[in-house]
């Protein structure tokens, strides 16, 4: 249990820090026209509600196809500004995706190998997705609204309904399963955190830094990681077994946004880059 806690926390911390460093160092290709706006938040919420249901309803092979396609595209655009050369990007993407698929689907492979590979793939995915959102103009306000709405959704879907439990049970062991997890013991139960929770934890420091400055971003990172650390400790000491993470993260995001917006106006990406040019 302790090892699982350390492994999961390590991946969480690493993904948040890597997303932060990536944000300062690499520029993703953004659409020629368009900025992340409230309409996108609404679309994302609809997707958050519909996609789990879809994963529960579709045949398993179709779920694997969908997860693989999504995983491949996320890996590709995450590596794009880092590796630059098209064939090298594809090579790294296909090696990672191939390893994930192989360890998930091949018989007689120790599931720990799959979890190790999948955790790395999910970690990279978090870096890519959070940067895509933040670099597409997502504002701290949007992230706070999304966090608040997801807090309500998470409470319903995780605590009041068996939806999340059923979903994780269905996706368990599938390639590109959207969790970072590690087995608690050889019998099979594992400790994990959903990709969605991790994405919100990692994106908020980026948009807060962009909106209000470095200090706001560091506070957001500290609060997010601190909250997840406390939740993992709660699991470790047996206080909870399954917990809707967004119920904690959402209000934290809203409070931080409310605090900073009273002190300074939210910056645009252009204003942020003028004030804090990247290399």
């Amino acid at each position: 249990m302790v090892l699982a806690s350390i492994v999961v926390l390590f991946h969480v911390v690493t993904s948040v820090i890597l997303a932060w460093l990536y944000f300062r160092r690499y520029t993703m290709t953004r659409p020629p026209i368009g900025v992340f706006n409230l309409g996108d938040v609404a679309v994302m919420l609809v997707m958050v509600i519909l996609v789990p249901l879809l994963y529960l309803m579709l045949p398993i092979w179709m779920v694997i196809v969908l997860l693989t396609l999504a995983g491949l595209s996320i890996l590709y655009f995450t590596w794009e500004p880092v590796l630059k050369s098209s064939w090298f990007i594809w090579l790294v993407t296909l090696v990672l995706a191939g390893a994930d698929l192989f360890t998930a689907l091949a018989p007689d492979i120790n599931p720990v190998w799959f979890l190790a590979i999948n955790n790395i793939v999910m970690l990279i995915s978090v870096v890519g997705v959070t940067n895509l959102w933040a670099q597409s103009g997502m504002k701290a306000r949007h992230a706070a609204i999304l966090g608040a709405a997801l807090a309500v959704y998470d409470l319903i879907a995780t605590s009041l309904l068996p939806l999340m439990n059923d979903l994780f049970a269905r996706l368990d062991g599938l390639p590109f399963a959207p969790t970072i997890a590690w087995p608690i013991n050889a019998a099979g139960p594992w400790l994990g955190i959903g990709l969605g929770d991790l994405v919100l934890t990692a994106v908020f420091p980026l948009v807060m830094r962009k909106a209000f400055g470095r200090m706001a971003g560091i506070f957001a990172m500290a609060f997010g990681l601190g909250a997840i650390g406390l939740l993992i400790l709660s699991v470790l000491f047996g206080f909870v077994e399954i917990f809707p993470v967004m119920v904690v993260l959402g209000p934290l995001m809203v409070c931080q946004y409310a605090y900073w917006i009273q002190r300074r106006p939210e910056r645009t990406t252009w204003q942020y880059l003028q004030a804090e040019p990247t290399k």
């Binding site: 290709t29 953004r30 659409p31 020629p32 026209i33 368009g34 900025v35 992340f36 706006n37 309409g39 996108d40 679309v43 597409s136 103009g137 645009t268 990406t269 252009w270 880059l273």
Partner: protein, 483 residues
């Protein structure tokens, strides 16, 4: 982002498949561009390619153009009075036209549209707006447009201005064109308004009044503190320059950073002298005419006129044979605007009477994948054919406006005489050195000038070329010019 993505897809569908533009999508595209510029300070890397149309190779371009020409020809034959009788007489099936067949369709002369504009309106198209040309070349010509066409053109213009960064929400735009130029004024002002800039129409008033408005200080929230964009004709700009410099204005009195100038031949001399008054402004030159609106041309950095091939077909036709001109040969532009840019009044192979020379590749300019010509040489009916070749209005204007001794705009005329041409021009003061300089300037531009007449009083000129600045609009009260 999702909304913008759908709007971009819808826009691309119209451009690729010639289906009518969806106004809501265009509107969202404008919102998307504004939001993107506000957030990032610029559009994404591929915006120019996306908004400027795809880069087509020669074969694809011909394929796209013949399909669109057929579509427009079918509409013309089936839905307009003018072309239905023409196609019947020709015995040509418009739906089976090949590129080579296009030359079999007679060019549409200005006179046909002038005499019966209603005959060019498609049945069921619901025209809402009749515009007329300003009539500098005679009786005004009328063209009909639907309300949707006008709105779409305004939005497309807004997209183009935003994409190029020529007009931003901070701008204050002065429109100094004829108040009767309703088509250009309506579409341009709609575009400016949609961008969020401020605009006002001065008309072709006393230049002193227009200059007073241009130099006026403003304290509008979020706007520049002086008029920053001027839209006008070449000759009126010349009047402004002349009046401004004579009245003691200098660049520090203005905040103009862009001047959109057109409607007439724009000379290098005019632009050079204009910078003395307004400082280092960027000139925006384009080519458009009411009859073929909104299919027009954009100037590239190398001075070519470029026509976007999916918007219409440009042919350069030998004025003597009415057949396609040979490389390097001067011809008149014959233009067919395509759907979805043109919906109500259809014109096929409209003879603009504007002379140009085709430019062939390989080109090195930023618009190299669009059809290219030289800059306008002038109207065919104003050009003179001599034993040694043509003399174009551009040659005369370039030669005269490059000289400080000739007041702007150059008021001049020219006509054929034995051995070449005679030129008359209004100058500040007549003396022999000026005569020599003008003669030399004309010769340097290849004008076979045999007789040169100088006048200090422009009203004494016998063959003066028409100028749009003479469509003067009067005021009750004269402004006080700043000295």
């Amino acid at each position: 982002m999702f909304e913008s993505a759908f709007a971009q897809l819808r826009y691309a569908a119209s451009v690729l498949f010639a289906v009518p533009f969806d106004l809501r999508s265009l509107d969202r595209l404008v919102d998307g561009i504004l939001a993107t510029k506000q957030e990032f300070g610029s559009l994404g890397a591929d915006s120019a390619e996306f908004l400027g149309g795809p880069e087509l190779d020669e074969e694809t371009r011909r394929d796209v153009q013949i399909r669109r020409f057929r579509k427009q020809a079918v509409r013309a034959a089936e839905e307009t009075d003018y072309y239905s009788s023409q196609f019947t007489t020709l015995g040509v099936d418009p739906s089976r036209l090949t590129f080579e067949d296009i030359a079999r369709i007679p060019v549409t002369p200005k006179k046909a549209l002038l005499n019966n504009p209603d005959a060019f309106v498609r049945r069921g198209s619901n025209p809402a707006f009749r515009t007329t040309t300003t009539g500098t070349t005679g009786k005004p010509t009328s063209v009909y447009f639907t309300a949707r066409e006008i709105q779409a053109t305004g939005l497309l213009a807004a997209i183009s201005f935003l994409q190029s960064g020529q007009i931003t929400p901070e701008d204050i735009v002065q429109i100094s064109t004829s108040s009767r130029a309703t088509l250009g004024n309506t579409c341009f002002s709609q575009a400016v308004q949609r961008i969020g800039a401020v605009w006002y129409q001065t008309g072709l008033v006393d230049p002193a009044q227009a200059l007073a408005l241009l130099s006026e200080s403003h304290h509008l929230p979020g706007k520049k503190n002086r008029a920053s964009f001027l839209n006008t004709y070449a000759s009126y700009l010349g009047e402004l320059v002349e009046c401004g410099l004579n009245s003691g204005y200098s660049p520090k009195d203005f905040g103009v950073d862009h001047i959109s100038v057109g409607g007439e031949i724009v000379t290098e001399g005019l632009k050079r002298r204009c910078r003395k008054l307004f400082g280092s402004v960027e000139f925006i030159q384009s080519y458009a005419m009411t009859e073929t609106w909104p299919f027009g041309a954009t100037f590239c950095e190398e001075g070519h006129l470029h026509f976007e091939p999916s918007q219409g077909l440009l042919e350069i036709v030998d004025p003597d044979t009415a057949q396609p001109g040979k490389p390097g040969q001067t011809g008149t532009m014959v233009v067919t605007p395509f759907a979805p840019y043109r919906e109500a009044s259809v014109v096929l192979r409209y003879d603009t009477e504007d002379l140009v020379q085709p430019v062939f590749g390989p080109l090195g300019c930023s618009l190299k994948h669009w059809t290219a010509t030289t800059d306008l040489l002038g109207k065919l009916r104003l050009a003179i054919r001599t034993a040694n070749g043509w003399v174009y209005p551009r040659q005369i204007r370039e030669a005269l406006e490059s000289l400080e001794e000739v007041p702007l705009p150059a008021r001049c005329g020219f006509w054929a005489i034995e051995g070449g041409v005679a030129v008359e021009v209004a100058v500040r003061k007549i003396d022999s050195s000026i005569r020599n300089r003008i003669g030399q300037s004309l010769e340097e531009r290849g004008v076979p000038v045999c007789e040169l007449y100088l006048e200090e009083d422009p009203s004494q000129l016998q063959h003066q070329l028409p100028l749009r600045c003479d469509l003067r609009e009067i005021l009750f009260e004269r402004s006080v010019i700043k000295l």
